[in-house]
């Protein structure tokens, strides 16, 4: 599948934000914006929803908590209770440090995994949309030509009016 894109290239964060707001305000769909750093305010301008990664952390952490506590109880108090210095076999307090660590470990690693799955980043993945200088100092507004809300003339006009440095076109072959 081949997709055609229109790229509006910016060197200034403020102009970029203004442009994205105008494009969306006039009914165009901004496919994506490529930036060298996280531009604050861009999520709002693009109308992105807040990420729900924190939910993954919460539930994975909860799972880790139950797993760690349950496992320690089972091994220490039921499966093979050992008398260590006369301490109670089912002492909950003694299990807290390991429980805390496992909660954090499983919560953290699951969030990272969810991030990679959701963003489709993985070792060996190619950066398809990449434009020269994008990871250095360029901001690129990506508009998809085949999109039902795309109007080429209007898009070019808004980009020009908001101070774009260049407009380029790209076609990308998706496998």
């Amino acid at each position: 599948m081949v997709k055609e894109y229109l790229f509006g290239i910016f060197t200034d964060e403020t102009k970029l934000l203004r442009s994205v707001r105008r494009l969306r305000g006039e009914g165009l769909t901004v496919q994506d914006v490529l930036t060298p750093y996280a531009v604050h305010g861009l999520d709002d301008a693009m109308g992105l929803r807040r990420s729900r990664l924190a939910l993954v952390t919460f539930f994975a952490g909860l799972f880790g908590l139950i797993l760690a506590m349950g496992f320690q109880f089972w091994t220490s108090a039921f499966d093979w209770p050992l008398n260590v210095g006369g301490k109670p076999a089912n002492s909950t307090l003694a299990f807290l440090p390991v429980t805390f660590e496992i909660t954090v470990l499983i919560g953290g690693l699951s969030t990272v995994l969810a991030f990679f799955l959701r963003t489709r980043l993985r070792p060996g993945a190619k950066a398809l949309l990449l434009e020269q200088g994008i990871t250095n100092d360029r901001f690129v507004v990506v508009l998809e030509k085949g999109h039902p809300h795309f109007e080429e003339e209007k898009a070019r006009r808004i980009l020009m009016e908001t101070g774009t440095d260049a407009i380029t076109e790209r076609s990308i072959v998706y496998e």
């Binding site: 490529l34 996280a38 440090p97 690693l109 969030t111 070792p123 994008i134 990871t135």
Partner: protein
């Protein structure tokens, strides 16, 4: 009231391209002679350490200076010392991120790297201490063939395994995740095919999409939120190795907070030592500014004073407890045969940091540098004092003994410094030592026109 104008967060870099050029210079060109000299010294120290470790694994830990009374000494001292060193990276990268302190941006990457290398150095000591390190996997609860015999989850030494393991894993992941956008920058500008392959794999196809950025920032905040309590938990658990025993001088409830503060104190001293060298050798004075050093010096002043307060509290508690064993442990610490180590500890950790009240000292790297070295020495002695003086004269005067480290123990300790600096020197050569994307955001913000939307 006249408000003081805020200092710029970074020095001269005025454009994003300049940030990329300045930081990547070290990865593009051959390093200068100073790097090579440092590298040779570090590798030599590492080699010495490896030889010592090989020898003690072959012969056994009878090669150490331990005896029936002093069952722990250099090994655990060095373990606690290195874990403590690691504790500056996480506060800088995680806690300051949560507090939205933008000055952290040019120092966080190397501080995180330092954490990881320091934890690696720390892990070596308990591993060798086991005597049979090839059976180290016995500390993990796995279904084994010795009947369903499980590890003892009520032992602080096992808590250590989980604490250090989790801390290392989360720190490593946090460090790597933070570098992905910068590795992508390197990938896009390198000409070398080998490097391109290396960076391409590590950058996982990063393209700077804002959809990714949005989730990425959430991820960083979550990881920072998780790493922050880890800092507290790790050194608290390390302190419980001592506090849950009944040895006078160890069996105190002050240990967890006292150890955590000491760890942050020593960690900041080490990170300042490293950054003073790094900014000079790599010519990064515009990124790691005097302002950064001053901020870290202020943290050292604060934590150093808390450490001093903790020493005083310990003394007060031992006197007020009216427990003769406890009182003896402390008088022996100060006036006993190892009294000189206590004196070094108090001098380096309590008196020396008070010099940091002076702004001139805080802002002059040449004066700050020896001071951080002294703090490092002092914090090593603190761990030595706690461990040694409590052990060598226990409840039974008939079993009192002295301890002297052997050459093997000293060589192993030197070896860990070799490992630490070898890793650090390779890191500054192969990966971006300054968080370029974070600095770029700060640079763009500082040079931006007043209109437009809001950077925190």
């Amino acid at each position: 009231m006249i408000r003081k104008r805020r200092q710029p967060l970074v020095g001269a870099p005025t454009s994003m391209i300049q940030v990329t050029e300045d930081v990547s210079r070290w990865m593009d060109h051959r390093p200068g002679p100073s790097w090579f000299m440092a590298f040779v010294v570090a590798v030599a120290a590492l080699g010495l350490g490896l030889a010592a470790v090989a020898y003690q694994i072959k012969v056994g830990i009878g090669t150490w200076g331990l005896n029936k009374t002093v069952g722990w000494a250099f090994d655990i001292t060095n373990f606690v010392f290195w874990v403590g060193i690691g504790h500056a990276g996480t506060p800088i990268s995680a806690i300051l991120l949560l507090f939205r302190q933008k000055w952290r941006t040019s120092v966080n990457r190397s501080a995180e790297a330092m954490t990881i290398f320091a934890v690696m150095c720390a892990a070596i000591f308990p591993l060798i201490h086991m005597g049979r390190p090839w059976l180290a996997f016995w500390v993990f609860p796995y279904p084994n063939t010795r009947g369903s015999l499980w590890v003892n989850f009520r032992s602080p030494l096992l808590w250590d395994v989980f604490a250090i393991g989790t801390y290392f894993t989360i720190s490593l992941v946090f460090w790597y995740i933070g570098m992905i956008p910068d590795i992508a920058t390197l990938r896009d500008r390198t000409k070398s095919r080998i490097k391109k392959f290396f960076y391409e794999v590590l950058s996982v196809g990063w393209d700077g999409s804002n959809r990714t950025w949005s989730r990425y920032e959430t991820l960083c905040l979550i990881l920072a939120g998780l790493a922050t309590p880890l800092v507290v938990s790790v050194h608290s658990i390390v302190s419980m190795d001592f506090a849950t025993s009944i040895i006078p001088g160890w069996h105190t409830t002050i240990f967890p907070p006292y150890f955590v503060v000491g760890a942050v104190f020593s960690g900041f001293a080490m990170v300042t030592t490293l950054l003073i060298i790094t900014r000079r050798v790599m010519n990064l004075q515009n990124y790691i500014t005097v302002g950064h050093l001053e901020a870290m010096a202020k943290i050292m002043l604060l934590t150093g004073s808390i450490v001093g307060f903790a020493y005083a509290t310990e003394l007060f508690t031992s006197w007020y407890s009216a427990n003769p064993y406890e009182q003896f442990a402390f008088s022996n610490r100060i006036f006993g045969p190892y009294g000189w180590t206590y004196a070094i500890m108090v001098f380096c950790n309590v008196i020396v940091p008070q010099l940091l009240w002076s702004r001139t000292i805080r802002t002059t790297p040449a004066l700050l540098f020896p001071l951080t070295l002294l703090i490092n020495v002092g914090m090593w002695f603190e761990r030595f004092v706690i461990i040694m003086t409590s052990l060598h004269r226990d409840f039974l005067p008939s079993s009192w003994a002295m301890y002297t480290p052997t050459f093997i123990e000293i060589a192993t300790f030197i070896g860990t410094f070799g490992l630490f600096f070898t890793c650090f020197l390779l890191f500054v050569r192969l990966l971006p030592a300054i968080a370029m994307w974070e600095v770029k955001a700060v640079v763009a913000h500082e040079h931006r026109s007043p209109e437009g939307g809001g950077h925190g």
